[in-house]
């Protein structure tokens, strides 16, 4: 799939801001820039401070909107959470290479941890839903699950505190041999475990990596992902990589 060319959109209008849990929000913005599942935008809603924009994945999109699902965890996301309908954000994107959808075949597992569930919705929309199982781990209260269920996707939940679904990590309810292809997005240690399980079972796995970014477009080299082919840039060569090529312990 060819990716649309990226743009810098100043003053994109906020259409909706929904609070889903204590610290998880969904922001919907008017923009025609779209993208593909797994791609992201550099987002800012402030002027000079903080200095850098924040990378956020595409959660949902259509011809004239993009939604982001995000968790408040610092200055930038706190400022995003203050936005109200009618407010403005600056977006640069869509950026990076998303999931290689053509390679997802047979029974597909999407294994996510926490806010890593963000790109799952737009990805599931492009897959044959009956073949998709989402295995989603959360610390506590789940979010963004109801809509996946309405798509007709099979969703299995694990929570660390046992407040919903199975108590424990999502990797404990993930059985790789039951699937033909796997996608994973979440904290690095969790994805490393998923990659290891998939490698053991010989199941191909695509992982969406996270790294701190400055430019977001491939120019500054602050976001390396060590791979068997040397350092790749998470922002421009990724964020989605073949899990078998990533050097996880580096």
């Amino acid at each position: 799939m060819t990716s649309p060319s990226p743009a810098c959109v100043e003053g994109a209008t906020v259409l909706a801001q929904e609070r889903l849990t204590e610290d998880v929000y969904r922001l919907t913005v008017a923009t025609t820039t779209g993208g593909t599942p797994g791609q992201f935008y550099m987002v800012r809603s402030w002027d000079r401070e903080p200095l850098l924009a924040r990378p956020i994945s595409i959660h949902k999109m259509n011809e004239d909107t993009v939604s982001f699902l995000y968790q408040v965890c610092g200055r930038g996301t706190e400022l995003l959470a203050r936005l109200e309908e009618g407010g403005e954000v600056t977006l640069t994107g869509p950026l990076g290479h998303g999931f290689r959808i053509g390679e997802l075949r047979g029974r597909i597992a999407i294994v996510t941890g926490g806010i890593g569930i963000a790109p799952t919705f737009c990805l599931a929309c492009m897959l044959p839903v009956r073949d998709v199982t989402v295995i989603a781990g959360f610390e506590s209260t789940p979010y963004a699950v109801a809509e996946l269920l309405t798509l007709g996707v099979d969703v299995r939940v694990a929570t660390e505190d046992g407040s919903d679904g199975t108590r424990g990590f999502c990797t404990e309810i993930f059985d790789p041999p039951a699937f033909d292809t796997v996608v994973t997005c979440g904290p690095m240690p969790m994805m490393a475990r998923v990659a290891q399980l998939c490698a053991g079972a010989g199941v191909p796995c695509q992982a969406s990596l996270e790294a701190r970014m400055a430019c977001g477009i491939g120019a500054c080299l602050v976001c390396p992902c060590p791979t068997v082919q040397g350092n790749q840039r998470v922002c421009a060569d990724g964020p989605v990589f073949d899990a078998a090529e990533v050097i996880w312990h580096a």
Binding site: R48, L51, L52, A214, I217, C220, V222
Partner: protein, 312 residues
């Protein structure tokens, strides 16, 4: 109005993309016509390829950022074969930024790069704080720097600009040493050696412990250094450090810079440099200046600066 001559090379305007913040130019070409820039400095190149530093590479600070990239680059032969031909289609001056681990790597690297068609200026980087051997080690002591510049000068067939470190013991003496050994220009500053501590893990944030600080927070110090150097040498000075607006750029020019480089501010907004160019154009029009050189180094003519002239 903005056309500028930098060591014999004509630039469309005095606004240049700083090394390491603009890749090899093509990345930003998706966002704007990079041919509108005065020039582009390449990512720091070394003769041999480098993987760069392990661990975290970026940390945000108030009005700035720290980086620890460590000169990751494909090596000069690969640059010449793959990146330079594409850069040459961008229609802007090409400044090859060259680093090295030891004197021999500098000399061989610059011999190769300066011989390549399409490279307009060579920027000798003796100021990278993020590599263990070489890099900034050559940019602290003026005598050591003089040795590198002299050796490189003998093989460099293009205009040679030396990029200075703000961590130098004496920045003006350093610039004078470079001029004496045949540098055609100096550019300053590279990043400031800085530290961040993770109080939760009780460790330095970066594997290398220290990293390089850039962005708006360094601007006033960088500006003072440019002013000191402009007073000390007769070769052109290129001002770098925290420039984010046309007013910032003009401050550097008034303090003695012939041209400026913009790095971190491009991360804030990809088109920052175009805004700076537009702003400078409007300024010239409003002030009825036929050339920016009219105000270049204008600070030096202010009487109350004379006492400070004694700085080496």
């Amino acid at each position: 109005m903005l056309e500028t001559t930098l060591c014999g090379v004509t630039l469309k305007n005095p606004v240049i993309a700083a090394s390491g913040t603009f890749g090899f130019g093509a990345e930003y070409d998706d966002f704007f016509d990079v041919g509108k820039l005065g020039g582009i400095c390449t990512k720091g190149l070394t003769l041999h390829p480098r993987e760069g530093n392990p661990g975290l590479r970026v940390w945000e600070t108030p009005a700035g950022m720290m980086n620890s990239v460590g000169l990751q680059n494909p090596g000069i032969p690969v640059f010449l074969e793959r990146e330079l031909p594409r850069m040459r289609t961008l229609d802007t001056a090409i400044i090859a930024n060259v680093g090295g681990g030891d004197l021999e790597e500098y000399v061989e690297g610059i011999r190769l790069v300066s011989g390549a068609e399409g490279v307009d200026i060579v920027e000798l980087n003796i100021s990278c704080p993020n590599v263990h051997e070489g890099g900034m080690a050559f940019g602290i002591d003026s005598d050591v720097a003089a040795g590198v510049v002299a050796a490189v000068r003998r093989v460099c067939t293009k205009p040679l600009m030396v990029k200075l470190s703000p961590n130098a013991e004496d920045i003006a003496a350093m610039a004078i040493a470079c001029e004496q050994e045949g540098a055609d220009a100096v550019s300053l500053v590279n990043t400031f050696k800085a530290l961040a501590v993770d109080i939760h893990t009780r460790k330095a944030v970066f594997d290398n412990v220290t990293a390089g600080l850039s962005g708006p927070c360094i601007k006033p110090i960088a500006l003072r250094m440019v002013w000191e150097v402009a007073r000390a040498v007769h070769i052109p000075v290129v001002g770098i450090g925290g420039i984010a607006t046309w007013q910032d750029a003009l401050e550097f020019i008034m303090a003695g810079a012939t041209a400026v480089q913009v790095g971190t501010a491009t991360f804030i907004k990809p088109t920052t440099m175009l805004d700076i160019i537009d702003g400078l154009e409007r300024y010239c029009a409003n002030e009825h200046l036929t050339s920016l050189s009219t105000v270049c180094n204008i600070l030096g003519t202010v009487p109350n600066c004379n006492i400070l002239r004694r700085i080496p």
